[in-house]
């Protein structure tokens, strides 16, 4: 699995590459339109992350150029412009997702995996972690072949943590993942604590090996091989 990140802001690019290292894919990064164009012509990728504003071009043009090559990578547009026009233009041109700066690296990671998974066309799309198995299409969870019932948000939390296994996922990242702009931060943290508490309890009662750890009030970490 290969990933190309086109982002002109070098510190951000490095952090993205750093965060994604150790995932099941190899990530490469370029900072210019020209370099990106060269890479997409020469190599095959499974997912492209495109920043819209580049010093020597536009990410949307890159997207067009890529589509003309009839290659099949998943594409995520990244932009500081939270502009609807860009979003629509990007999705119209065949992008699979859209992220607005500033974003959480854990969210980015989850989106990349979701895009890659969608592109894989697996009829049975499972995620396994320890003795926990999640059916992504049916949205069902088993612990040691024993089905457990999670609420929609508990499952969303579990999936977000599974996508970022062994990473510290901040509570804001989780809250935004669940509620977006819809509720207030203070409230969302309280609700998040409650959901996590319930999720932990259900996993514990079912005897799941992956463990959700609280990291100093900053966020949570899913340890599969604790």
């Amino acid at each position: 699995m290969k990933l190309l990140i086109v982002e002109d802001e070098e510190p951000l690019l490095n952090n993205m590459l750093g965060y994604l290292t150790g995932e099941q894919f190899i990530s490469e990064g370029v900072t210019t339109y020209v370099a990106a164009l060269e890479r997409i012509h020469l190599y095959e990728y499974d997912c492209l992350l495109l920043d819209i504003t580049l010093p020597d071009g536009n990410g949307l043009r890159l997207l067009e150029a890529y589509k003309q090559l009839r290659k099949k990578a998943g594409i995520i547009i990244i932009s500081a412009k939270n502009s609807l026009d860009d979003r629509i233009a990007g999705l119209d041109l065949g992008a699979d997702d859209y992220l607005t700066k500033p974003f959480h690296l854990s969210e980015l990671n989850a989106r990349i995996k979701a895009v890659i998974r969608r592109k894989a066309f697996n009829t049975h799309d499972f995620i396994d972690a320890g003795n926990v198995r999640v059916d992504m299409t049916q949205r069902r969870v088993w612990v040691d072949q024993q089905a457990i019932t999670l609420t929609r948000k508990e499952l969303d939390i579990l999936l977000h943590l599974l996508a970022n296994q062994e990473r510290v996922v901040t509570k804001t990242s989780l809250a935004e993942h669940l509620w977006g702009d819809h509720i207030d931060q203070a409230d969302s943290f309280n609700f998040l604590f409650a959901h996590i508490k319930n999720l932990k309890k259900k996993l514990l009662e079912a005897g799941a090996t992956p463990e959700i750890r609280n990291i100093y009030g900053v966020g949570y970490q899913l340890l599969v091989n604790a």
């Binding site: 977006g180 203070a186 100093y216």
Partner: protein
Amino acid sequence: MRLLTLTTRYYLVLFLLILAVWSLVLYAVLRQQVYQNIDEILFNRKQQISVLLNQPQRSLPTGDPYTDFKLRPLPPGHVFQPDQYADTLVFEPVDQEYDEYRQLRTQVRVSGNPYELTIVKPRLESTEMINTVSITLPTLFLVLGVGLALTARRLNRILWQPFYRMLHQLGKFRVDQTTSFQTEPTSIDEFSQLQQGLTDLTERNRKLFMQQKQFIENASHEMQTPLAVIQSHIEVLLQQAELDYRQAEPLESILTQTERLGRLNQALLLLSKIENNQFRERTPVPLKPLVEGMLPYFEEQIEQQALRVELTIPADTTLHTHPVLAEILLTNLLKNAFVHNLSNGFVRVDVKGQTLTVENTGDAPDVPTDQLFERFRKASRQKQTLGLGLAIVKTIADVNGWAVTYQFANGIHRLTVTYA
């Protein structure tokens, strides 16, 4: 009061003053002329009579109604006095009234004997003089006054038209309008200058305002990338295995504040974009699915505070606006209603005719009602909110030409959007 009405009034007062003074002057001049004239006649008559009386063949005519003088002998050795002119009244038997005469009393010698000679002549009467003055002058002034008023009205219609057009335009002028201030050209120099001045001034204001808006948008936009960099650094730092509590705590705080800054920035950017009319296209957006689709996001609030949610939205109601604006508007209205609620309270969304009403239970607002829609106005107990929600609601209503009002009564907050 109109400038021309006021000017006309001042002119009329001035006219009346001039009229009063001028009547007196005219009367005095007229009277003086009359007296001079009659006194001259009397003097000439005296000379004539003196000559006539000293002709030897003449006897002294007295008491003759056809003569205009009387002779009265004076004692010999009488010392002559200077001529005396005086007004007198003479009974006129014909019309049975006293008429005003001028009389000259003098002394003459007839054949060496002194006589007192009194000559009378009818003169133009005072009342006649006054009548003349008081008829002719006011008539003149009346004609002038009416003329002035009519001219003023006519001038008002012709000359001042460009001025009133400019006033009208100025009244309609909004600093955020997209077109320049425009009026028809005029041939009058002063108005033309005024027009030029107004055009320059309004254009400068419009440009400044647009630059300001553009600046806010650009500034917010430029801040997104550094914020993204900071945020990603912290997230990477948080992944370090050797992280302990003393490091995690400040990192958490930095992250929270950075994210807050990011959200604030995005909200400001959104406000600028709405104001800059970047969500121009309008389509009918069905309300019911929009509101219902948002409710799951609030399910924790609903559960925790045991809130009753009542939706009365006819299935066919639509909001004619940009889909993004409709969503942001409703998100903010609902968020506001859920965040400021009380246990066992309710949230009620009611769409009737051309109004959308969102009601919720809650404590009395501690911000003056008229300031609620201002930016960064928020209840002091809500530290986590940005204080931009209702400002965004107001801005969306403004760009769509809707009215939004807020009321608080009996523990119920009510926000009404009228999209007529």
